[in-house]
Amino acid sequence: MSKKNKHRNHNRPWPVTPPTVSGGSAVGPGASDPNFVEVEQLLAQGNSKAAVELAKQVHKLAVTSASEALLIKAYGARIRALLKSGLSVEAKALLDLVRQRYPSAKGALAEIGVDVAARQESLDDLLRGLNDPGLAPARRLEIEATIRRQVTDPGALAQSAALPAEHPLRVGAARLEKAWEAVTTGPVNDDALALPEISRRSPLAPWKMLVRAIAAFYQADDAACERWIELIDPDSAPARLAPVLRAMISCQAAPGLKPAASFLVAQVGGKLDTLRGALQSLDAAFATGKRKQIIPAIQNAIRVCREACPDLLDRLRQHIGVRAHAADISDAQVREAMGGAPRKDAYFCRLMARQAEDPRSMACLPACTMWDEFRQHAVQEGWFRADGPEVAALYLHMADILQHMSREDLASLQQSFRNQYSRLAFQYLEHHPPSVREFASKKDEEALYLLFPERLYARACAIDPDPEVFMRWVEWARGGSGWKLEEEAAEAWKRALPKDSRPLLRLMELAEKRGALKKALGYLEQAESLAALNPEVRRGRLRLLVATAMRHVEQRKAHLADRDLEDLEALPQAREGDRPAFLEALRWTVCVLRSDPDGAARHLARATDLIGSRVAAAIVIAGIVDFCKLYDLVTDHYYERNINFEGKESLAAAVARGCALGDDLGWPLTIPSAFEKQLLDELKRAPGKMDARQLRLLAEAALRLDRRPLAFAASGAGLAKGGATEARFLLLRGRALPGYEPERRDQCYAAAAELARRQRDMGLVDEAVECRRGHFFMGTINPLAPDSASMSTDQLSKVLNRERQASEFPQFKDRKLESPFDDGPFFDDDEDDDFDDDEEFDDDLGPVTSNEFDEIMNQLDDLLGMGKRRGPRHKYRRRRRPGPPRPPGPPSPPSGPGQGSLF
């Protein structure tokens, strides 16, 4: 139905059933009359307009007192509806008309008249009744309730001439008006809020509460404000301000506020909300990344900020500048939209630096550059001193940022900047005297400090010479290829903190590593003078003396080795644990040098007694022989002739014990290849015989020597034992797996991390995470993904069960390597030539050995730039055994001049 038709139908005369006429006089239609019933129904439905129309027709036809009463009732409902809709003028006009036309309506519509009068703000009609001394209490209550509900201006009440000036209501209203004016205009004292003229029962009591709520609001006492609001009668006129006040307290936009309320909120609260909205819109525009949306949003935010919070404008420009920079919007466009450039101060530089170092798009060089800018501005602006701890922290932070680059990339960057600087310097200073050129060159080099972690650490340590800071420098330097950087760091530490033994120990270790034993002993003596009881120092003395003795053995200087051994035997720490057995083994080698078979036999017997195992003694001797390069005197043949593998002794346990002793003295021992087959057999045959510690030592020694099948078997034996060490053996299993099992290896690492996490072994968790980080296979496994480290119990048990049951070292030929590598250049048979020292495995492995595969992985990593690992890098290349290559087949006869037959 069209609107027009609807309107037309609405005005159509109501179909009225003629009333019953009896005896010439109209009999009043009763409540049972269908027309009456219908009018009542319409009124009940709230359709007062239709009710009036129908009642008018009914009355026109009937003209009885009942029909008039019905019509007046319908008019009353209509007037109330008009009042409810805010049409008070229309309501009053209709009321006047009805009163004029139907005298009986005066009484019936008296109550409505009060409401209409109140709405008209001509309260006189309403208030006049209160002057009547005989006013019924019920009527008085009605008028007061209407005042409570309808009066929206205490001033009008105070000035009403309908009441005498001394009437309590007028007096109270006048006092309230003053208080209202005061509380909305400025701060007020408690006296102004007392309002003793207004009692709790007064119709103005809600106003009193409102005045106090507003006062508390302006005093920022929000709790008190809320308490006063709660005391306001919810049916009273002042209650209309309650949601508005609450909205202003919470600073939240209240839904459904009418225009006047919104205006009040805006006026009182300033334009902070508008600004907040504009900033949220700008954030949303930045999230879209669309320039067309961002620029207008910037303009709007700046405009609103200028009006609402002009003091925030600079700060806002800086934030917008940084965000726009990240969104790749040109500076000129942003500047124009903002009506000016962001202020380049310390705050801005810090924001820019933080943006540049965002992990999602780390830009190391810009980040460091901005941090350097920040440093200069911050010092200039007085944020901190140029030599304050903040600057040291900043240098350390910059050094951390540079560590996100690979060492190769960083070196290349440093070189290119150096070249650029020197070229520019050459052009700029071409005609200047050499002294000027030299000075400028030094200055330029210094300006590049931010590209060199070692210089950053040095600066940080100069400001904050704390061992922790030096430790970070040394740790970083340790990751480098040479020892120079680490030595520089340790030297600087020693100079800055001469009473600290730790740098001396570092220097000692470095010297020891590169074979400078005399220098190492010098550092050790200094460390002993500072901390003789330090266990590290004590161990250092033992280790260095062992190293010196072994060097002398290697140099075949038996007399010097004897002297070293005497010194060693005098050390209390050399008498602990299995260490005396090691010394006996060293004595054995000295006897070999001297061609003294009796002495050798004696020391071997002693070593065997001390370590409790002939095999363990043999392992120690083998290790010493290997390090001292005595291959011409002793060969593997020795072990096969002298060690009885058929005995009751556990070979694996003996090997583990020997390896443990070597580790203890800082000389990781080799496991003679002649033992490998028997070791594997034993681990497969009786995995439960050894304890977890021995198995762990064995697996770690095998990994160190890159004997993955042996490490695999040892880790399997460890897993078979179950218990609390499962996580450790899962990690060892992962490390033992060959490079062509990347997913399985990663699953082992993840399972080890998960298990360790559940056992709260955070050290092991770190190890597993580092292993995963180091094992980044072709981008298919991302150990840095947030949820890639977590594993469900079900997944964990699957990995554990699989690894427990796996008894055979995975073979490359069994594995289908996915394209594109199947026919790649890396599988050329010729490359096998490079690995001819692995004859033991050539028979078992397929066309590509595990070593070859590892080598391939290294090459691929390098080619694809995936070799930039932060964690320990796996040594894919098998350690080549020094000395002459051993021919395949049966053991060769000794090559030495006669001594070989002895051993």
Binding site: S85, G86, T152, D153, W180, E181, T184, T185, G186, I214, F217, Y218, A220, A237, R240, L241, V244, M248, C251, K258, P259, A260, A261, F263, L264, Q267, V268, G269, G270, L272, R276, L279, Q280, L282, D283, A301, C309, L312, L316, H319, V322, R323, Y347, R350, L351, R354, Q355, D358, W371, G382, W383, F384, G388, P389, E390, A392, A393, L394, H397, D464
Partner: protein, 104 residues
């Protein structure tokens, strides 16, 4: 378990304790004690937590320095710039208030 700091990215611990940038360790401690007296934990626990966190940052020079560097967050919502701003409460006279009451 380590307690989570109540300080946000834009919170300046110096401002919370009311000390100048150049304040010495003693001044920082004195300001902390003064603030704790103003906001004892039993009466205003939230304010006390903030004061304590601010002091924890400021008392350790390295932590203080690191906080200074890393407290800026370029990706924080721009509206967070208004976080520390107390909403203004302007006196606007009786008329706007009465207009709300008269509004139909």
């Amino acid at each position: 378990m380590e307690r989570k700091s109540t300080l946000g990215p834009h919170d300046d611990p110096r401002e919370i304790l009311g000390v100048a940038t150049s304040a010495t360790d003693e001044e920082i401690r004195a300001a902390y004690l003064r603030k704790v007296k103003e906001h004892p934990p039993e009466r205003s626990p939230a304010a006390f937590e903030r004061i304590r966190d601010a002091y924890e940052v400021l008392r350790d020079p390295r932590r203080r320095a690191l906080h200074l560097l890393l407290s800026a967050d370029p990706w924080a919502p721009l509206a967070s710039l208004l976080a520390d701003r107390k909403p203004e409460r302007r006196f606007v006279g009786p008329a706007p208030w009465l207009a709300v009451l008269k509004e139909k």
